[in-house]
Homo-oligomer: 649 residues x 2
């Protein structure tokens, strides 16, 4: 009692500052979210976090109901308050540990109050109630503290490369170099645990609910024909290389031929893209394939999968996701992955311009696919400065060679626009009516080839949204999750470097739309594929297709349309004529999906040990030089830098 | 009715032969096992195998309770019986489909009776009872058949490279080249489905029951110091390579430092061992790490894991697995992975030989660790021929330089043995008593250095068991599953090429046994490690350890004992001094474990697309040559064969 009294005296001001201890943990908000969503991160409420180990409780679970219990806690020293108490942290939360104030236990007190922060300690003691008025309602353990009886420093934290507080503000490179420290942050703990829990639920849905078989496929494989971006792996056989595949595409199809019926895999995939922001040389996809299925079946499966695995605290998903054709996505949003969380859709106003006597407009409309498109930025006059508009027009010109004409609708409904002098009042009114433009709105108009005009306006739609959001207009809430299927993609596209030749829009195994089969030999560019993309908030998070199961059709596509050497895929063609069932599937980009759900700005925040955008691991300095003996074992040597420069010149 | 009658007349002999249709599927026994264990392969009984697809039922589920139902089945043509019926197969079973015999449906009949076997068909029809007496009790669907009303050949099986029947007998190379056909066999379907289901249960145990977090770790990493057998992956940065790690060892430890607390991963690992039988260049381990745990904790966790995920039809596992020291395993079984399904243990009979006047025995006993060891082969005289014994002695001499002296105890208890003349009747009797040898038994004796004598006898123990089993003596039932922990391994071993230097028995991160800490600087060769192996039926199926969490100790082991350059592991050392909790873990070899459980003779039978023992994929011909442009991208070129030969000479 004396102890308690003494303590209360000593800490009369201290306790209010204790609450600020939380602030030492990065992202207090997230820690609270962990606490509040704790159960949802452990699919079974009965999940025992203390089995097999020396602690009796985590640092996040003690409450008033435990008062009087003898407990053992293990954790990191998060905070020390004079010699009065320390705060212990683990993945589950924080617990306040009361230090003894009597002479007899001076050593114990010194041990805990003088060990460096972030040291690992084991503490045995009794759960007691905090004195009235000193509870912390923001901490899940805020009603209790543990009166320590025994303690042991399990590992001293000798020195950190910097103050944890500073660390948070440091560059991402530093956070990646000391990833094991960054992993202690509540944000990364939350992200990785949510990822694990969501993947577990996906597995339960596929495996337990719908009889899918989890099959591991090789990652040391043969180079795909035309498979740029595939890492190669030298072998001890002279001149022979494995390749790290970009997806298990061939294997999943072969599994269907093998009668596996329903396959899934959380599959590691590889892509050597050199430096690209927010891409990783290895990434993970939820890979699915089914026999005897059509597009509707796959879509229903994936919708069910996402609903089943969706985090409890992220709202609920609709029973069926909207479906939009590629053509509609392009004409209304100017891209194949529309962000449907907000409007500002692209409108066609071509007919209004048929009589407008502007040279370049008439010229444009005379060309194939010539049109005039518009987007309306509500209250744009208020939020967009002249330089914003100029910059958007510049973007459009530079990136798409598309001229943009702005119209600012003034409060008296008159226009400020280069167009004004070319359009009479009636036409101006008609355009405002057609586009819904009101006083204060801005219209951005693009006259040009359909896809170019749409793509440019699609980009400006997103740019304008960002600008509006910067001004505090809520448009794209990170708490809204708008899934969308985009379908009816073209099966083939003209090659970028040679428009006379065709290449697959996705991959050569996608089946043509049944209605377009007749066009395959005559107008292949008009054939739609049975491909579907899953879009979430303007990001592509999945894609798949019904595959070609007929060997003749597959051979025809490869040889006659794509002009490829089909012998490189002879094993697949042979498999298709050995009793291949109709089949189709999908792959979901797990890293991206989890990043969006957790509101992370980069997929690096949902990967335990990510690489930099140049593919480097800052912790271990991978990739690195290897010894000559290793190269010899694989019969390879480095090309001399000089020679290479000459070759490249 | 007429149809039915006609059919019965037509098939009076046919039906009895139908049963033999089963035999066309490889391993009828296994197919039955699939049928009988069906539910256990789908963790939840409610698993819906027909969701999202065009069939209403699988080919394995219709029964008398479905009579009268209209159903849609999809499957492979397994068997055609004249024009009377066909048998449809899928992953779940077989269903007999009755063909129409009326003129009106002649086309339908022709379609199904003339399509090549292994073609994929969709059939709609009515479930009817088989006529009395024509039920097939060995088929789960043997009481019914489906009267077809509509059918569609979804894909014609144009030609198989060989008759399916022949295929089964063909070489494994052919089976691997046409793996998609082999996958249709009930044995592979069973193996892959059991693997998937068991892994799913492991995940549920770890993730749902015990709060483990499934974390993916990189496979493109930095080469481990001394990491022979690691594949390298060239990057576009001149001279720099990733390495494909042999295990996530470093990452799992770093996750503990990062406070993840409980990690698991079904991890893909890589090892470039060139040609070794029954090894794969990529393999899978169940990788586990925990903080604040000791050996007992990890063992209890793994025992619980295996009990939880163990297939229902494979018996039950004991509550705790036996634990044996490495020393005991060596002296009683002559190896560190004893097969404890049978006795024939190694016995020490040294004291009996102290007075035997045989020169080499006395010489042996005078040396350090000299001893005489014996195994007893019960009824050996009956089962082992002279050439068997000779061959065993030869093996021992060649592989271990260990001379073996046999003793055959004859029916009158006299001996046939080179030893006879050196041992008096009393000693002979004493040896028989000590070893339990009875008339007809054979003793194999080895005088030599302890480990050599034990290792040799350990090998002969297994050889003798094989011989006895060939003669029909049941010793090692494939239906018995004897798990065993082997502990207290030495922490260091003398290097094979230089006995003056030490190397880690397992890896440099294993913590010393606390009782042996004092020996670390004085007699490191006597230090036991906190390592544990899990052995199943004489195979190592797992191994792990409590790790060193103290940076100073880790540095000391690396620098002072192993004489390695600790700077190559500076990131790990730095992590250990940044607040690393005590931690430990284990990795289970999933391929081997599943192979033993399914009774497969090779791990290739539990991997969907395995490689040959030379690391080849016979289906796609990986590894393969790659184009010069690819090598250029990675700044590498092949060493000229000639140069290399010269270098190697």
């Amino acid at each position: 009692m004396a102890l308690r009294l003494g303590l209360r005296l000593l800490t009369s001001s201290g306790f209010s500052r204790l609450n600020s201890a939380n602030l030492q943990v990065p992202c207090t908000a997230c820690r609270r979210e962990i606490a509040s969503t704790g159960p949802s991160l452990h699919p079974k409420a009965s999940s025992d976090l203390n089995s097999f180990v020396s602690r009796s409780h985590t640092c996040g679970e003690l409450s008033s109901t435990d008062i009087g219990q003898e407990v053992t806690l293990c954790g990191w020293l998060q905070f020390q308050r004079q010699d009065l108490f320390v705060v212990l942290r683990d993945f589950h939360g924080l617990t306040q540990v009361l230090l003894p104030q009597d002479e007899l236990n001076a050593e114990l007190k010194t041990l805990l109050s003088e060990a460096p922060l972030e040291s690992v300690v084991l503490v045995k003691g009794t759960v007691i109630a905090r004195p009235p008025g000193q509870e912390n309602p923001r901490m899940s353990t805020g009603k209790i503290e543990v009166q320590v009886k025994q303690a042991q420093v399990l590992n001293i934290c000798k020195k950190l490369p910097f103050e944890i507080k500073d660390f948070i503000k440091k560059s991402e490179a530093l956070r990646m170099q000391y990833r094991y420290l960054d992993l202690r942050s509540s944000q990364l703990q939350y992200n990785l645990r949510l990822r694990s829990s969501m993947v577990m639920k996906m597995r339960a849905y596929l495996c337990n609910q719908h009889g899918f078989v989890d099959v591991e496929t090789p990652t040391l494989f043969k180079r795909t024909p035309g498979g740029a971006k595939e890492f190669v792996v030298p072998t001890q056989e002279h001149g022979k290389f494995y390749s790290l595949p970009q997806s298990p595409q061939q294997f999943k199809q072969l599994l269907m031929v093998g009668g596996l019926d329903r396959y899934f895999q959380i599959a590691r995939c590889y892509r050597d893209e050199g430096s690209r922001p927010d891409r990783q040389p290895e990434f993970t996809q939820v890979d699915i394939e089914m026999s005897f299925v059509d597009q509707t079946g796959i879509r229903a499966l994936v919708e069910g999968l996402l609903r089943y695995s969706w985090p409890n605290n992220k709202g609920s998903l609709p029973d069926a996701f909207p479906v939009m054709s590629y053509a509609e996505a392009m004409s209304s949003y100017g891209c194949d992955k529309p962000d449907t969380r907000f409007e500002m859709k692209i409108m066609d106003v071509t007919t209004l311009f048929s009589t407008v006597q502007m040279g370049f407009v008439q010229e444009t409309l005379g060309k194939p696919h010539g049109c005039v498109k518009a987007i309306r930025i509500p209250e744009g006059e208020k939020y967009l400065k002249k330089k914003d508009l100029d910059s958007m027009m510049e973007t459009s010109k530079e990136q798409y060679k598309q001229h943009i004409t702005p119209v600012i609708v003034k409060s008296d409904s008159s226009w400020r626009s280069p167009l004004q002098k070319y359009m009479g009042e009636d036409l101006q009114k008609a355009l405002c009516e057609a586009s819904g433009a009101k006083a204060g709105d801005i219209l951005l108009l693009a006259a040009g080839e359909h896809d170019t005009a749409c793509t440019a306006l699609g980009k400006l739609r997103l740019d304008a949204a960002s600008k509006l959001e910067e001004c505090g207009v809520p448009l794209r809430s990170p708490h809204d999750y708008h899934f969308l299927w985009v379908v009816d993609f073209p099966l083939f596209l003209p090659k970028e470097d040679n428009a006379q030749e065709m290449e697959s829009a996705h991959h050569p195994f996608t089946a043509p739309h049944p209605e377009d089969m007749g066009l395959l030999s005559t107008e292949p560019e008009k054939v739609r594929g049975q491909h579907y993309d899953l879009v979430l908030n303007g990001n592509e998070v999945g894609g798949g297709s019904i595959r070609i199961h007929n060997a003749n059709l597959q051979r025809w596509v490869l040889e006659q349309v794509l002009k490829e050497d089909s012998s490189l895929l002879s094993h697949l063609l042979e498999a298709l004529e050995s009793g291949a069932p109709p089949h189709g599937g999908i792959a979901l980009g797990l890293d991206r999906l989890i990043a969006i759900i957790t509101g992370s700005s980069s997929i690096r925040d949902v990967i335990a040990f990510p690489k930099s955008f140049r593919g480097r691991d800052f912790m271990s300095s991978a990739p690195d030089f290897v010894a000559d003996e290793v190269l010899q074992l694989y019969h390879i040597q480095m090309v001399q830098i000089d020679c290479e420069v000459i070759q490249n010149v």
